[in-house]
Symmetry: C2
Subunit: 503 residues, 2 copies
C-alpha cells in the first residue's frame, strides 16, 4: 500500500537517468539489475518517496548534466552478474533427467520462494532519508521484546515558521500500538493505545516535549520481525523502523580453572572397514594428547569394538555413509571446539592443536585448518554467482585466499580447506554434514558454510596422512555411477546451484 | 573516536531531563537503564550528535515544560527489568559451590563478552536522523559482497543558499574505499579509491549529479559486517550504514512429484533398556505409516537389534544419555521435517502427522507439538529477564501462550511444548540437544530455542503414552543427587541463567 505511490515516483525519476544510461549499451542492463536489487518496489517506504519527489523537482538540471563513464570501475559493478556454465566440468543441471528437468526446476523455485519468505523475513528494504523533511527521528538500533514497551528517542519537529497549530501523526504498520508515559499540558493526544496517534498543540515546544514521552508497545508476537512506524508532519512522511526481537540465551562453555585443553577440544572422526587405520590414529593421538576425548562414528561390518577410556565408539547401520557419520560425530561433542580428522590421519609432533586453538580463541573465526601430509598449506576462495532460473553458480578460485588473518601471518582467510580442522562446535552444528552425501563429498560442506562460517587455513600445524584404500573400501566409498548422479541432483535442488565454475 | 564527542553532547542534554525525572523516584533508574541500553555511547554515530546539538539549543524551552506521568504505561517500561530469584525453586546460582562461585562467575562473564563480540558483531547501534541537515542519503538496505562494489543511491545536497563553491566529503570507516563510475565536468574529485573522497564544484547541480555515480568497494573481507560511511557537508555530518554480506546458498528439500509424506518426515526417538516399549512404538508407527523412515538412538546394554526396513538403529556407548541420543537422532535426518516421539509413545488413529505438516508448511513456524496421552493441549510462555552479574532469569508462565496461530485456531504460539512435535530439521539442528544433559531435561532445550525457533502447540493431533519405567531404567534416567548438581551448574554457566521464576 505504502509502496505503489513511491514506486511510481521512483520509476519516473529513475527512468530519466536510465534514458541517459542507454547510451552505454550493455551497462544499462547491469545498472538496471543492481537498481532493481536495491529498490524492492513493493516494500519501499514513504521516507524515500518524498525524497525522490524532491529529486524530481531538480531533475531537469541534474539529470541532463552530461558525464563520462569510467569503464574500469564500471566493470567492478558488471562483474557481479556473471554465471556461465558453458565451460563447467561439474554441471549439475545436466545431471537432471531432461524429461523431469522442467518439473524439478518448478518445484525448486516454489521451495526457494518459501525459504526466502521464512529466512529473509527481517531483510532490510532500501530506506533513504529526505534532507528536506524538518524532522528528527531514529532510523537504526530500536528494538522491543514481544509484548514489551520501548521508547522512541529523538522524535523532534524543527519548524521555524510560526503557525496557528502544530500537528504530528505517528502510525504503526503491523505489530503494535502507540502510547505515552507522560502527558504535557496544552498538547492534545488522540488515539492512545491504538495504531494511529495524533498530537496537536499551539506550541511547537510543547508538541516536541510531548514527543519525548511517546512509547511503542508490541501486541503481535514474533521472535524476529520489523515494525515500521510512520511519522508525519505537514506533507512530510518518514519511517521509523523498530525491530521486534526476543531476548535469547548465550551458548557458553566453561574453560575451567586450569587451562586444560581436554576441556576445550573433542577429536572426532568417521571410519569404515579400516580398523588398522583408525587404531593407528587413536594410538598416535594418545601419544600426544592422553586425555582428549575422541568420538568415532563407525558404519563397518563386522564391527570391532573401539570403546576405550576417552574413546566413544558409535555403531551405525552398515554403510550408513560418509557425511552421516561426520554429522553423528559432531552431534556428540560437548566441548566448545571439535577437531575433525580422517581415520587415515596420524598425529605427529607438528600436530600442535594448541596453535589452532590460539587462532580460534583470539579471532572471530569459526573453523581453522592445518596442513595434511606434505602437500603444504591449501586454501580456496569460493563464492556464489547469481544465475538464471536454472540456478546460481559456485565460483571456485583455487590456491587463492581472502587475505591474511590479522595477528596470525601463518593463516589465510579462505572458503574451502583441508579435512584437518579445529572448529566451533555450535557453528559447525548449525551448518551440518548432510547425510545424503554417503560417499565422496568435501566441497559440499564448505559450500553450505559460505556466509555462515568464518574459515581460515594455517601452515603452522601439520598432521600425517597414511592413505589405505582396500578394494572393499573403494567399492562403498568412491564416487561414480549412481552416486554421482544422485548426489549432484541433490546439490542442484538443495542449494539451487546449476554448476561449479573455476575462476 | 566518533563516540566521545557525541557521548558528551548526549550526556549534557539528557542530564537536563534526568534532573526532572528525579522527582519520579524509582522511575529514574528504569529510564536510565533503558536510556543507556539505547545509547551505547562508545559506538554512537555522528548523525545523532548534531541532532542532539540541535536539541540542546531548544532544550531551555522544551526541557523545562512540566509533564504528568501516566503510571500504568510507565509500569510497562518498568516490567522489563525485574529478575528476582528470592522465591525460585530452581536456583542454579545456589548449586554452584560457594568457594568457587566468584571464580566461576568471573570466567563466565569473560566468555559472555567474547560471545557477544562474536555473535552480535553486526548488532545495530542507535542512529538518529537530524532534521536540520540538508542532506538526503540511504540509511537502510545497502549491502555489498566481499571485494564487491555497490552503488550509494540517494546522495543529495539540498541547499537553497547560493555559494561560491560547494564541497562534500565521504569517508569510510573500516572495510573499503570510495570511487566513481562516471565523471561529471566541472566537478572535482579528490581521493578516488581511498577511504576519503572529496567532491567540489561551483554548481550544486553538478555536485549532486556527480554524487549519483559514487560507489563503494569492499577491500577488507568479512562474511557479515557493517561499514559506516560518513557523509559531510558544511558542519553537517550524517552516517550511511552499509552491510558487507556474503551470498549464501539456500537449504531446500525436494517434496517430489507425488506429495509422499515419507519424503518429508523422519520419525526419530531415543531408547534405553525398554525394548518392549520401543517395539510397541515401531509396530504402531507401521500400522499408520508403513514407509516413513524411523531413526532410533539406543544406549542400552545388552543391545537388541532393531534394524529393519525403514528403521535405522544406532548403537551408542552404554548410558551415553538422553540428549546425546536425541542429538544423534537429529543428526541422521535427511527429510525437511523430523517428528520427535519418546520411546514409550504409541501411534493411534488421532496421530495424524498430516495435520502438523499442514501447519508447518503454511506458516513460518519451526516446531509444532501435538497432545500426549489424555492431558490435552499443553503450552508455556517463557522469556529471559535481564539480571545482574549472577545471571539472568528464565521466566516461566505455564498454561499461557503468545496468541493463536493465524489460520490455525487449534494451535497456540508457545515457548515450551510436549515431546511430541514435528519440526524443521535444519532449525532444530542449529539449536541442538546438549549431550551434557544425560538424564531428565526438557525445559533446557526450549530455553536454548527461545528467539531461535518459532514454536506452537496444537490440539488436533494426539499420540498415546504408555509409561513403563523399570527400576534399572530409573537408576540411570531419573534426576537427583550428582546429576542435578552437574546439570544445573552447566545451565548456570552455559546460558548465564541464575534461576527459573514462575510468573
Amino acid at each position: 500500500m505504502t509502496g505503489t505511490g513511491p514506486g511510481k515516483f521512483r520509476l519516473k525519476c529513475w527512468t530519466g537517468s536510465l534514458r541517459q544510461l542507454m547510451l552505454a549499451g550493455v551497462v544499462v542492463i547491469v545498472c538496471l539489475l543492481i537498481f532493481v536489487g536495491h529498490c524492492q518496489w513493493k516494500e519501499i517506504h514513504r521516507t524515500s518517496s518524498s525524497q525522490l519527489g524532491k529529486m524530481d523537482m531538480i531533475a531537469e538540471s541534474v539529470e541532463n548534466i552530461p558525464f563520462t563513464w569510467r569503464n574500469e570501475t564500471l566493470s567492478l559493478l558488471h562483474d557481479k552478474s556473471r554465471c556461465d556454465c558453458s565451460k563447467s566440468k561439474h554441471n549439475l543441471w545436466k545431471d537432471v533427467d531432461e524429461k523431469d528437468r522442467a518439473a524439478t526446476i518448478e518445484r525448486r523455485s516454489k521451495e526457494l520462494t518459501k525459504y526466502n519468505q521464512r529466512v529473509e523475513s527481517s531483510k532490510e528494504t532500501l530506506m533513504i532519508v529526505d534532507g528536506a523533511a524538518p524532522l528528527s527521528y531514529p532510523v537504526r538500533g530500536l528494538t522491543v521484546v514481544p509484548e514489551g514497551t520501548a521508547e522512541l528517542p529523538g522524535l523532534v519537529v524543527l519548524d521555524e515558521t510560526a503557525r496557528q497549530e502544530y500537528e504530528v501523526q505517528l502510525q504503526t504498520t503491523d505489530f503494535g500500538v502507540l502510547d505515552t508515559v507522560a502527558e504535557v499540558a496544552q498538547a492534545q493526544l488522540e488515539g492512545l493505545r491504538t495504531k494511529s496517534l495524533t498530537i496537536r498543540s499551539k506550541s511547537l515546544s510543547r508538541l516536541n516535549r510531548q514527543l519525548q514521552f511517546i512509547v511503542y508497545t508490541n501486541t503481535v508476537y514474533d521472535i524476529d520481525a520489523t515494525e515500521i512506524i510512520n511519522f508525519r508532519y505537514l506533507h512530510h512522511r518518514v519511517s521509523v523502523p523498530l525491530r521486534i526481537r526476543v531476548r535469547t540465551v548465550p551458548f557458553l562453555y566453561d574453560p575451567g580453572p586450569d587451562n586444560d585443553i581436554s576441556r576445550k577440544i573433542t577429536i572426532i572422526t568417521k571410519t569404515f572397514i579400516r580398523y588398522a587405520s583408525i587404531r593407528k590414529l587413536l594410538s598416535s593421538i594418545r601419544k600426544f594428547y592422553p586425555n582428549i576425548r575422541v568420538v568415532v562414528a563407525d558404519d563397518s561390518r563386522p564391527v570391532e569394538d573401539l570403546q576405550a577410556e576417552n574413546v566413544d565408539h558409535f555403531v551405525m547401520p552398515f554403510a550408513a555413509g560418509w557425511f552421516a557419520g561426520r554429522n553423528l560425530a559432531v552431534s556428540q561433542v560437548t566441548t566448545p571446539y571439535l577437531l575433525w580428522v580422517d581415520d587415515d590421519f596420524v598425529f605427529v609432533p607438528e600436530t600442535k592443536l594448541e596453535n589452532l586453538l590460539e587462532v580460534l580463541e583470539n579471532t572471530k573465526l569459526d573453523l581453522v585448518a592445518g596442513t595434511v601430509g606434505r602437500t603444504g598449506i591449501r586454501y580456496t576462495k569460493m563464492d556464489i554467482v547469481p544465475g538464471d532460473e536454472n540456478g546460481d553458480c559456485l565460483r571456485i578460485h583455487d590456491l587463492h585466499h581472502w587475505g591474511p588473518v590479522p595477528g596470525f601471518p601463518q593463516c589465510r582467510l579462505s572458503t574451502r580447506v583441508t579435512n584437518f580442522f579445529l572448529a566451533r562446535t555450535d557453528s559447525v552444528r548449525a551448518v551440518g554434514f548432510d547425510p545424503v552425501y554417503t560417499r565422496s563429498a568435501h566441497t559440499q560442506f564448505f559450500m553450505a558454510a559460505i556466509g555462515r562460517l568464518r574459515v581460515a587455513s594455517c601452515d603452522h600445524v601439520r598432521i600425517d596422512h597414511v592413505s589405505d584404500k582396500p578394494a572393499e573400501y573403494k567399492k562403498f566409498r568412491n564416487e561414480g555411477g549412481d552416486y554421482t548422479k544422485v548426489s549432484q541432483r541433490h546439490e542442484f535442488f538443495k542449494h539451487s546451484i546449476q554448476c561449479w565454475v573455476n575462476r
